[in-house]
């Protein structure tokens, strides 16, 4: 695993997130569930908590957008780049953007939002890409049945190097 050089992650353990908009590809309830579950991947192995807020600015702002979308990294249409997220800091730090030109799904017919979100939230929490092909933080997309997903050891080691292990 790798962490962002010079970034020790969030200096608090209770983080908030807000879903700014939805993809039309999935029912909103499925998006909510995929996002919640993606956060749980990380909160299961660390002392971190994630609370959804509906108003005001949150630590991790989640949005779907196509092409140019108010950062320096425009999306590229279908396939290629699926999403990106920013390392912990104030402002845009921690935010996760998903390319609306992709087809998002809760299954395997398209890109599974849970899998991609779990990876992006790894960045939001301070993990850089891993060079272990079996790691969630490896840069390329590999479908895993969400019900069978468990966080690979490399990622557990990575996130616990920043926040420690969950004690209860």
């Amino acid at each position: 695993f790798n962490v962002f050089p010079g970034n020790k992650g969030w200096n608090k353990r209770d983080l908030t997130y807000r879903i700014l908009n939805y993809t039309p590809d999935m029912p909103q309830a499925e998006v909510d569930q995929a996002i919640q579950r993606a956060f749980k991947v990380w909160s299961d192995v660390t002392p971190l908590t994630f609370t959804r807020v509906y108003e005001g600015i949150s630590d991790i702002e989640i949005s779907f957008a196509a092409q140019v979308h108010n950062d320096f990294y425009p999306f590229d249409g279908p396939h290629g780049t699926l999403a990106h997220a920013f390392a912990p800091s104030s402002g845009i730090g921690g935010d996760a953007h998903f390319d609306e030109d992709e087809t998002w799904t809760s299954g395997s017919n398209g890109y599974n939002l849970f899998i991609v979100a779990a990876h992006e939230f790894g960045h939001s929490l301070g993990l850089f890409h891993s060079n272990d092909p079996s790691a969630l933080m490896y840069p390329t997309y590999h479908f895993v049945e969400p019900s069978e997903f468990h966080l690979p050891e490399d990622d557990v080691n990575g996130i616990q190097s920043l926040y420690g292990a969950r004690t209860t």
Binding site: P5, Y73, F75, D76, H79, G80, T81, L82, A83, H84, A85, D99, Y111, V116, H119, E120, H123, F128, H129, N131, D132, P133, Y138, P139, T140, Y141
Partner: protein, 81 residues
């Protein structure tokens, strides 16, 4: 039989790789200018990419590397800025 593989594919691979490396590995150098100087930043970046992806580091656009580069991925740049 052709005496050598068609050059079109190699040129396409090079162009694709250059764009990919600019996008994900912060390749900034003007390739034509560098070639005149006899440098090879493209090969250096290919090696850097292969290392970060856990591939065999060859500095060439081999099959494994090209396959990996065509996979959908996270858009986060793989080098520190």
């Amino acid at each position: 039989f052709p005496a050598e593989p068609p050059k079109g594919n190699e040129e396409n691979d090079d162009k694709f790789a250059e764009e990919y490396l600019k996008k994900y590995y912060n390749l900034k150098t003007d390739m034509r200018q560098s070639r005149r100087k006899g440098e090879s930043p493209l090969i250096q970046k290919i090696k850097e990419m292969q290392q970060s992806l856990g591939l065999t580091v060859t500095g060439t656009l081999d099959t494994d590397t090209m396959e990996m580069m065509h996979q959908p991925r996270c858009g986060f740049i793989d080098v520190g800025e």
